[in-house]
């Protein structure tokens, strides 16, 4: 702003605040007065605030920054008696500098990065933006470095690049969700033929891990490494995620397009308006994944199975969840994932994706008294959009501005027993086209050949 500021924050938020100022182009340092969390709790004694008032005054009149920003990225080097020794030293360096995730990584050697870059449709120096909140510059090469470290392959790179583009979209609000204590993790849903070409999972165990479908783990791990190493989301200093979930690989999977009943459009079409058959990603942040037993028992008709199952899903959604307010207007309260078997039963009973959403929307409304008892009314007052703030007038309270906000995709193992509820903590649901390089099919062919050769060896 060009105006001197001081931030009143918690002791453990120093890293978060420094990342935030770095992301807006300042040196990674700022005037702060910090207190333990206990000082910010209801009923806290504020004597400490009075005792330290001069620190606020000094911060606005005397403070100077002692930090400078580093410049261009460097090449690093380790030496070892053997290759294995050097590899171990490289991994020790990753851990010592907080660049890793605790599991072994591939050092991003020039050879490996060049190999990965064969999957890029853009030049290696092409800039996608700055990774929030820390603000490191995101190039295609930076994506390739992360994917190399995560054990990825060239044919995965187009999906990672599209996911990063979606992540960097201002409507994704990555600068908030990276730092928040709420532990959101990116979910990347892929539509289009690329999913099968690179062996992304859309069936049993799609959240992973799955050695038969390794792409999602590598792509998601690379995105997570970028969130940490470029974006500064280091637990306890850059991301205040109290628990953190799905933070080794995030969640990267494909919709089971072959399992869509006749007349049902893929998620990419009905949420983002992409052409059917286009390769694209859809990114949102989830704060949890709940398995719901949706199948009935004993004597039941198909209609009872279908309707009771939907009621059970709606029951999981019908909660006084403050996260719903973040994506109330443009985002989503969450994604329901149903298998092709369940989708087929629903279609047999005449349901479409939209009519399922409408059913869930109507039956997930929360009595306003529940919202009051849970203290959600104050959160509504400071919600980001007018629709979210005005929703306090509705009883029962709809968990989103409109039914269309509810995500619904067909994926998972071909089984009727369960549904998955990916509760969102997201401001937007961002779609991006996946751009393929010339020669992409050759990369896929090489991967298939390598896989076949390794299987036989």
């Amino acid at each position: 702003m060009g105006i001197p500021t001081v931030t009143l924050t918690r002791n453990e938020f120093v890293g978060v605040v420094k990342n935030a100022v770095s992301g807006i182009g300042l040196a990674p340092d700022t005037a702060m007065v910090t207190f333990p969390t206990a000082n910010f709790l209801p009923g806290a004694d504020l004597a400490a605030l009075a005792a330290r008032k001069n620190e606020f005054y000094d911060a606005l009149t005397k403070w100077t920054s002692g930090k400078v920003k580093s410049g261009a990225g460097n090449m690093l080097c380790v030496e070892g008696e053997t290759y294995e020794d050097a590899l171990g030293r490289a991994n020790e360096m990753f851990i010592a500098n907080s660049w890793g995730d605790g599991l072994p990584l591939w050092p991003a050697t020039p050879e490996r990065v060049n190999w990965i870059l064969r999957g890029a449709a853009q030049p290696r120096a092409h800039v996608l933006g700055k990774f929030p909140p820390r603000g490191a510059i995101v190039t295609i090469e930076a994506c390739a470095v992360a994917l190399a470290m995560a054990g990825g392959r060239p044919e995965y790179l187009p999906v990672l690049i599209a996911a990063v583009e979606a992540f960097l979209d201002p409507n994704a609000t990555g600068e908030l969700l990276q730092a928040t204590s709420g532990s959101p993790f990116p979910v990347v849903i892929v539509n289009g033929p690329i999913a099968k070409q690179i062996k992304l999972n859309s069936g049993f165990g799609l959240i992973g891990p799955d050695p038969q479908h390794p792409a999602g783990a590598s792509i998601g791990r690379a995105l997570r490494l970028m969130q940490q190493n470029l974006g500064g989301a280091l637990p306890g200093t850059g991301t205040m995620a109290v628990f953190g979930h799905m933070r080794y690989t995030n969640a990267v999977f494909a919709e089971d397009e072959e399992g869509l009943p006749a007349g049902w459009e893929p998620h990419s079409v009905d949420r983002h308006g992409f052409k059917r058959g286009a390769n694209c990603v859809s990114l949102f942040y989830a704060s949890g994944a709940a398995n719901i037993i949706r199948r009935g028992a004993k004597k039941e008709t198909l209609e009872e199975d279908v309707v009771q199952g939907l009621h059970r899903v709606a029951g999981y959604m019908r909660v006084p969840d403050v996260h719903y307010l973040h994506g109330y207007t443009e985002g989503t309260p969450g994604f329901v994932v149903i298998s092709k078997v369940v989708a087929a039963d629903l279609a047999t009973m005449g349901y479409t994706k939209q009519s399922i959403r409408e059913f869930l929307y109507e039956h997930s409304k929360v009595p306003l008294d529940e919202m009051r008892k849970a203290g959600c009314m104050a959160w509504m007052e400071i919600a980001a959009t007018a629709a979210a703030r005005d929703s306090a007038q509705q009883d029962p309270w709809p968990i989103a501005e409109k039914a269309a906000n509810i995500g619904l995709i067909v994926a998972g193992g071909g089984h009727s027993s369960h549904a998955l509820w990916l509760q969102a903590y997201t401001y937007g649901v961002i779609g991006r086209e996946i751009k393929l390089p010339a020669g992409f099919n050759d990369l896929v062919g090489e991967a298939d050949s390598a896989n076949a050769a390794a299987t036989n060896s």
Binding site: K62, S65, V68, K69, G73, L76, A142
Partner: protein, 97 residues
């Protein structure tokens, strides 16, 4: 010896722009408050306002109620512009995050 060279995964940062210069004093200055509306901001920021006004006669403190509140707002460009338009010389941002 085996030498292994690889990319630094922390990437590159732009050259930093300088922080805003500090005030020489609070005499005749206007200080604004920005709040996320959480973590007892409703108690702490007014307390700071009261202390500033007591310690620096002539200072004007614009309370947080004059600007949008909430994490969704206080970092955005519109609010930054509102703060600039208010003519404040310095800002205290709270709370706790």
């Amino acid at each position: 010896m085996i030498k292994l060279e690889f990319h630094d995964p922390s990437g590159a940062l732009d050259k930093a722009i300088p922080h805003a210069p500090r005030l020489e004093s609070f005499a005749g200055k206007k200080v604004g408050m920005l709040s996320n509306g959480q973590w007892q901001a409703y108690r702490m920021l007014p307390m700071l306002k009261t202390m500033l006004e007591a310690d620096f006669p002539g200072i004007e403190v614009i309370s947080e109620d004059n600007f949008p509140q909430g994490n969704a707002f206080i970092g955005n460009e519109d609010v930054a512009q509102q703060v600039k338009d208010s003519g404040v010389d310095a800002v205290i941002i709270g709370n706790a995050a």
